[in-house]
């Protein structure tokens, strides 16, 4: 929506990631390289999508960015204070706490009005007092989204947040995500293997190679999300297909 960033916020919402290399020790004692000289930069308020084949190291990259994996060669500069909101592939809710408690524990400073708006947008109002075990996967994903937004993040990280939902529900959740980001712009990194999803949500797409992952191509999308026509989307898809093919030659 605001590729140039929100003017009310300083230019500090910038994310810079440089990974020279990252490898795992394999069971047989060798080393398996998963990331190879990979750099991405996101401007304040920009929504970027990381697209690549499954198993290419996207999740590893996310773990490095959010600080869960420090064993790598390179550097990560988080926005300003580095307040993170994350949606993992699985919802990762505390089963013994209610929906509302799950959100409040992650975001103790969030006011009642913020929570009310979030629960309203994500249609969670009647589930506030439910336990995660009583929710469907779609609802649990919504709670994870609410939790990530409630912390008022400077960087929002989404790891395939709509995977294994039926198409209709995934589309509805995508629309809700767009609505939340439109209301409160935040530097966002979305990991997906779904090109369609990336084109629908992102301002900039990073195409990743198969393992060991590096950036094959960077595709900026000029139009705001709300006015992307079917023709433009088809054109972007074609460009992505071309760039992928060119890089693999």
């Amino acid at each position: 929506m605001f590729p140039a960033g929100d003017p009310s916020r300083p230019e500090s919402g910038r994310l810079e990631v440089h990974v020279k290399q990252k490898s795992y020790r394999t069971a047989s004692g060798g080393r398996l390289q998963v990331l190879d000289d990979l750099s991405i930069t996101l401007n304040n308020g920009e929504v970027a999508a990381l697209v690549g084949p499954s198993g290419c190291g996207k999740t590893t990259l996310l773990r490095i960015i959010v600080g869960l994996d420090r064993d790598f060669d390179g550097s990560v500069t988080l926005p300003d204070q580095g307040r993170l909101g994350i949606v993992f592939q699985e919802p990762r809710l505390l089963p013994w706490r209610t929906v509302e408690e799950n959100v409040r524990l992650a975001a103790p400073q969030a006011g009642e009005d913020v929570l009310a708006t979030l629960f309203g947008t994500l249609e969670l109002i009647e589930h506030r007092r439910h336990y995660p075990g009583e929710l469907s996967l779609g609802l649990a994903r919504r709670v994870a989204l609410a939790r990530a937004f409630a912390v008022d993040p400077e960087l929002l990280v989404l790891d395939e947040p709509f995977v294994s939902l039926d198409a209709q529900l995934a589309a509805k959740l995508r629309a809700e995500l767009v609505e939340l980001v439109a209301r409160r712009p935040v530097t966002t990194l979305l990991v997906t293997h779904d090109v369609e999803e990336a084109i629908g949500l992102a301002d900039r797409i990073f195409l990743l190679s198969a393992s060991p992952a590096r950036v094959l191509a960077e595709v900026p999308i000029e139009n705001p999300r709300s006015v992307r026509s079917a023709d433009q989307i088809a054109a972007i898809r074609k460009e992505i297909a071309l760039k992928t093919a060119a890089a693999q030659m």
Binding site: L94, W96, A106, A107
Partner: protein
């Protein structure tokens, strides 16, 4: 309804067996239910029953709380930290295999026939079992929830209370259950060997007088107290900590 009826029938059967057994064994070896009931009433009238039960119960409570608290802390540390586990494990195995009687006698020799020695001896007997159980729970902690808590920058106390302890609750409950019955049995031995009051002391006196009626009176009274604690304290507590689990239909 049938459950309650079956329970009652079982208790009636037990009393009948006891009654018939007493008839054949004779009053001296096995007094009947009515004689034991009368003895309980007499001890209660004089105030001795309430006093001795109270003293024993206080020792059980203090030793139990100390053992459970220490066992939880040590078990958690050992389950979470490989170095602590490696250093602590031989101590644990030694303590686990030291007979209760040895610990009690040594405690009385080293610290005198004092209340502190008595309670320390009981707590030390219970400690290794509580530690082992909680360590098992700490090893089974969900790593994905840990990561979630880390990315959302949850404080130490919040993590312990809302992420770690609810996962340990079933293990702590199991340790508490088996612990309570173990502790009260050991408390009786400690009282028999070196305390001037309590149920164990009374049973020791009755033993010297060959007063089976009094032995049974005190034993049954204390079993009743423990049964009440189990029904009105332990079970409601278990229901409370597992309230989030979806009910079986």
């Amino acid at each position: 309804m049938t459950n309650v009826a079956l329970r009652l029938a079982s208790i009636v059967l037990l009393l009948a067996v006891w009654f018939v057994g007493a008839h054949f064994a004779g009053e001296r070896l096995l007094p009947g239910p009515q004689a034991v009931g009368l003895a309980i009433v007499n001890e209660a009238r004089s105030g001795a029953l309430a006093f001795n039960l109270g003293v024993t119960l206080a020792r059980v409570a203090v030793a139990f709380v100390i053992a459970m608290a220490l066992g939880t802390v040590i078990g958690l540390a050992m389950g979470r930290n490989a170095l602590i586990d490696r250093i602590g494990d031989p101590w644990l195995v030694a303590l686990l295999n030291l007979p209760a009687l040895v610990i009690i006698v040594l405690a009385y020799i080293w610290a005198g026939l004092t209340e502190t020695a008595a309670i320390a001896a009981v707590a030390l007997n219970k400690l290794p079992i509580a530690t082992v159980t909680v360590r098992e729970g700490a090893r089974a902690l969900d790593k994905t929830l840990d990561e979630m808590a880390e990315v959302f920058r949850m404080g130490r106390w919040v993590r312990l209370r809302h992420v770690v302890l609810p996962q340990l609750a079933p293990y702590i409950a199991a340790a508490a259950r088996s612990g309570l019955s173990l502790v009260w049995k050991i408390v009786l031995i400690v009282e028999l060997l070196g305390r001037p009051n309590g149920v164990g002391f009374e049973i020791g006196v009755a033993f010297q007088l060959f007063d089976v009626t009094r032995i049974l009176a005190y034993a049954l009274a204390f079993v009743a107290v423990m049964l009440a604690i189990e029904t009105f304290l332990v079970q409601p507590l278990e229901r409370h900590v597992s309230r989030w689990r979806p009910k079986q239909a």
